[in-house]
């Protein structure tokens, strides 16, 4: 018989599977490593604290506003999560989205209809994702450098394309700004519904399909993934293209927030999404994390900003708190990884 020395949990040397002790150990295992619980707890604690210390935080207007503010960075963060799960990072996501909004707005302002303009924008964003994906997967270059280069190129390209603010008319492009009131005065926009649906669909794809498991496996150990017969290059390419599709969706979300766009919009979107992903419990080393956590991470940043503003605290301190939270989240991840060894 092989050994039973290093068995985890109260099961000790018990070798029967699925015994009561084992089940308890498995639950502890789950609680400790379920990456959504941390951000969820942080979100709840912060919300309770702010509702105690400020008058307006818990108002329906404020909560509704926080949800509406989350849609653009929240959607971008979904694409960012996919890429970080494979062990990569995307510095160009905001720039891809902004170029997408410019292409859509300028085409729609011309003779192209709004829907065809949106489809062209979708193709542009997906194609730019494919460019990063092909360079990363075929040439094996580090995603940090590839997307840094793409960011620089796209920032210049956007300004060459147009230097002005472009407006879109009311129509299909602004459909995500529409909304209704629920539970009294609680306003829910179509954009909020769509971002929640996006999280649910992507969560399902990652957790319940073979493709999702391959994404985690590639980020965990790409050599192992290759040796088990997974087409690593194809998985990587699919991730970057799908991220591009989510950036296009973020462009539509941006029109739902404001009909105006310019090359200077969303200058820190890339870093904001990395912040959300990290606070949401996804490991920057790849292979661990959830899209739900990333969306919660985006909400946490907004809740902090909103609550601290209403508590009358200087906005600069809000950034300090966010920064501390990012470092704490990464520290927690490192401790978890070491423990897992």
């Amino acid at each position: 018989m092989a050994d039973t020395v290093k068995t985890a949990g109260p099961g000790g040397d018990v070798v029967l599977r699925e015994s009561a002790g084992t089940r308890a150990a498995t639950i502890v295992d789950h609680v400790f490593r379920n990456p959504v619980l941390g951000p969820l707890a942080a979100l709840i604690v912060a919300s309770i604290a702010f509702s105690l210390f400020t008058d307006n935080f818990l108002s329906v207007d404020n909560l509704s506003l926080i949800l509406q503010q989350s849609v653009v960075v929240g959607t971008l963060a979904l694409g960012q999560t996919l890429i970080i799960l494979t062990g990569g990072i995307d510095l160009a996501n905001g720039a891809i989205m902004v170029l997408g909004t410019l292409v859509i707005a300028r085409l729609a302002a011309g003779s192209t209809g709004q829907v065809p303009a949106l489809l062209v924008g979708l193709l542009v964003c997906a194609a730019l994702g494919a460019v990063s994906g092909l360079i990363v997967s075929r040439l094996g270059l580090p995603p940090f450098i590839v997307t840094l280069g793409l960011l620089t190129i796209l920032q210049a390209a956007s300004r060459l394309y147009t230097k002005e603010t472009v407006l879109v008319d009311d129509g299909p492009l602004t459909v995500l700004s529409k909304g209704g009131y629920f539970l009294g005065q609680f306003q829910i926009t179509a954009g909020v519904v769509v971002v929640v649906l996006s999280v649910v669909v992507l969560h399902y794809a990652l957790a319940r399909t073979a493709w999702g498991r391959h994404v985690y496996a590639v980020g965990n150990n790409d050599l192992a993934a290759k040796r088990t017969g997974i087409d690593v290059r194809r998985v990587l390419l699919s991730v970057y293209v799908l991220a591009g599709v989510f950036y296009a969706l973020a462009a539509l979300q941006a029109f739902g927030r404001s009909p105006a766009t310019s090359p200077n919009a969303f200058p820190t979107a890339n870093l904001d999404t990395i912040t959300a992903v990290v606070i949401g419990g996804t490991s920057l080393f790849g292979g661990r994390g959830t899209v739900l956590g990333s969306y919660l991470g985006a909400l946490i940043v907004l809740v902090l900003q909103s609550g601290l503003t209403q508590a009358g605290i200087d906005p600069l301190y809000q950034n300090i708190v966010t920064g501390v939270l990012v470092i704490a989240a990464v520290a927690l991840d490192t401790v978890t990884r070491k423990r897992a060894r």
Binding site: E18, R23, T26, Y216, A225, T228
Partner: protein, 260 residues
């Protein structure tokens, strides 16, 4: 003499201007454990990588059940029923045991849930994983839903071997399976190797661990200077003789016939 399952003739593999394998032959017969030994740099790893599809040979041919095969990737070899347990185990540590067992070969739900929504049949994969562990008499794993990074080295090795045994319909290849293990864990892995052989699947065991080789192997393929020097049976030679042949101190005897 039992039939040859996996055979290689005149394999050559060069890396730049270094010739790692220089016209090597290889044969694995039905129902045996064949150990492959050789000094560092003798080219045994490169030869095995050719057989498992990890590298493509520059010359020579590989035959499975007498028919020539061309492996361009590990996936090709796997499709032909050849499974390899790599030294670094090829597992995704954050994922659980059942997921790792079926990685790259996931089972989908039947009906539209599987075909349209691509939903995995997690229950079925866990059930089959437990079945496979039971079939191999593995009792050291607490739960099939534990993540691999919570396992000890020996337990991880057990999972990797179980995966190879589950999908290796024709051949299981193991690269240094006992190298990182303690005495008791090694013994467990050797027991597993015997059990796989007893289910009718021949095993190729690459190892530096001479006591392990002598304990479990039916024949020993000795690799030297990029070629097969000879094949011996453990009962016919002392351990130090075999080491002598491997290092060139003793002349290689004629290739021993396999047990009938």
């Amino acid at each position: 003499m039992s039939e040859i399952v996996l055979e290689a003739r005149g394999i050559v593999k060069r890396y730049g201007h270094v010739t790692a394998v220089n016209g090597a032959d290889f044969d694995l017969r039905a129902g045996e454990v064949l150990a492959v030994i050789g000094d560092n740099g003798a080219g045994k790893s490169s030869l095995i990588k050719v057989l498992s599809g990890d590298v493509v040979a520059d010359a020579g041919e590989v035959l499975l059940d007498g028919k020539q095969v061309h492996f361009r990737s590990p996936a090709d070899a796997q499709a032909a029923g050849i499974e390899t347990v790599y030294q670094d185990l090829a597992m995704a540590p954050a994922l659980d045991i059942a997921t790792n067992l079926f990685l790259g070969r996931e089972i989908r739900r039947s009906g539209p849930l599987g075909s349209v929504f691509r939903m995995l049949d997690v229950k079925e994969m866990r059930r089959r994983s437990r079945e496979q562990m039971d079939a191999l008499g593995i009792t050291t794993l607490q739960s099939i839903t534990q993540s691999v990074d919570s396992l000890s080295g020996g337990q991880r090795q057990t999972v990797a071997v179980a995966r190879a045994a589950a999908f290796g319909r024709r051949v299981v290849i193991m690269d240094e399976p006992t190298a990182a293990l303690g005495v008791r864990e090694s013994k467990g892995v050797l027991d597993l190797i015997r059990r796989i052989r007893d289910t009718g699947i021949p095993v190729v065991l690459i190892s530096h661990d001479m006591p392990a080789v002598f304990e479990v192997a039916d024949r020993i393929h000795i690799h030297r200077l990029g070629k097969r020097a000879t094949v011996v049976k453990p009962g016919d030679h002392e351990m130090n003789e075999v080491v002598g042949i491997m290092t060139g101190a003793l002349p290689p005897p004629a290739i021993a016939a396999a047990a009938s």
